[in-house]
Amino acid sequence: MSSVSFDNNSNNQDFELNIASIIDCFTVLIAFMLASAAFVSVGILDAGIAAGAATASDATPPPIQITIELKKNQTMTLKVTGKAQQNTDITSKNGEWDYPGLNQHLASLKSKWSTVDAVTLTADNDTEYKHVVRSMESIRKTMPIVLLGGF
């Protein structure tokens, strides 16, 4: 790669490319890029709000409305209103939010009401944002649309 030979009028001229300057450039570039590189990747979670439109939508409302409330004691309350009425408390398991339990309930609702694909998520005032985000992430496995509510 670094050695190039020319055959000109039967005179061999063998010389070596000087790549020391290229190495210098690369060193500076790599140092600069390493210094400015971001080693964490930022992603985006889509969220709307439960009631934010200026004008009323023409879309047919779903048969049931599902609301999930996050409590500070790691209990989630699943409220179903509309054609079905349900109020279920999902308590924490081993000191953790019981997301599998919540998804089980949501999956059973989804199997019964296949047109329902949105959930409104609210939380107690003291609930930390990270729990809201984790709940959204978990709910989206069953219900693709998660709207933030409570305001």
């Binding site: 590189a37 992603g43 985006i44 979670l45 005032n125 944002y129 933030l148 305001f151």
Partner: protein, 168 residues
């Protein structure tokens, strides 16, 4: 930074030796390509404030461009400009309206909305965007998040994109 060194054999006779740096150039090329590839692959280019802890979640990596609202322990920033002060993630009591919005933040969002409207009026290619990117600290209480989102929503910003750190 000379890379060419000459060595003199002790046992008589001299021989010039050239350092082989071709392989080093190859390695540097690979590292450079790798770094360039990963330089701007994030969904959104954000620079959170010092001490900010973003929540972690599995999220989409599609690129989004929208107004950025940052909620940190000491304040709320809109497009990098301080909009409202917070004390340990909490708004001052007098700042909250009866509808749960913040007076100062509402004014800041209104100003941004008016600016967007003015641009949209003079340039038909520009559409009024309901999207905002929310960059919030994971320790922020939901009450603060609610206040910020409500203040944004009353001015037409209803499509929230929550910035998170991509989990495994």
């Amino acid at each position: 930074m000379s890379r060419r060194k000459s060595f003199i054999k002790r046992s008589g006779g001299s021989e010039e030796m050239t350092l082989q740096i071709t392989s080093m150039a190859d390695i540097f090329t690979i590292i450079l390509v790798f770094l360039l590839k990963g330089y701007a692959t994030g969904a959104v280019s954000i620079t959170p404030s010092q001490g900010m802890l973003l929540p972690e979640a599995q999220a989409s990596s599609s690129s989004v461009e929208a107004m950025k609202v940052e909620i940190s322990e000491k304040g709320v920033q809109i497009e990098g400009q301080p909009a409202s002060a917070l004390t340990q993630f909490a708004f001052a009591g007098a700042e909250i309206n009866s509808n749960g919005t913040s007076k100062v933040l509402s004014a800041a969002f209104e100003k941004e909305r008016k600016r967007q409207l003015m641009i949209a009026q003079s340039n038909t290619d520009v559409k009024i965007d309901p999207k905002i990117i929310v960059i919030a600290d994971q320790r922020a209480p939901y009450s603060t998040i609610k206040t910020v989102l409500a203040s944004a929503a009353i001015h037409g910003y209803t499509d929230f994109k929550l910035a998170v750190i991509q989990g495994e």
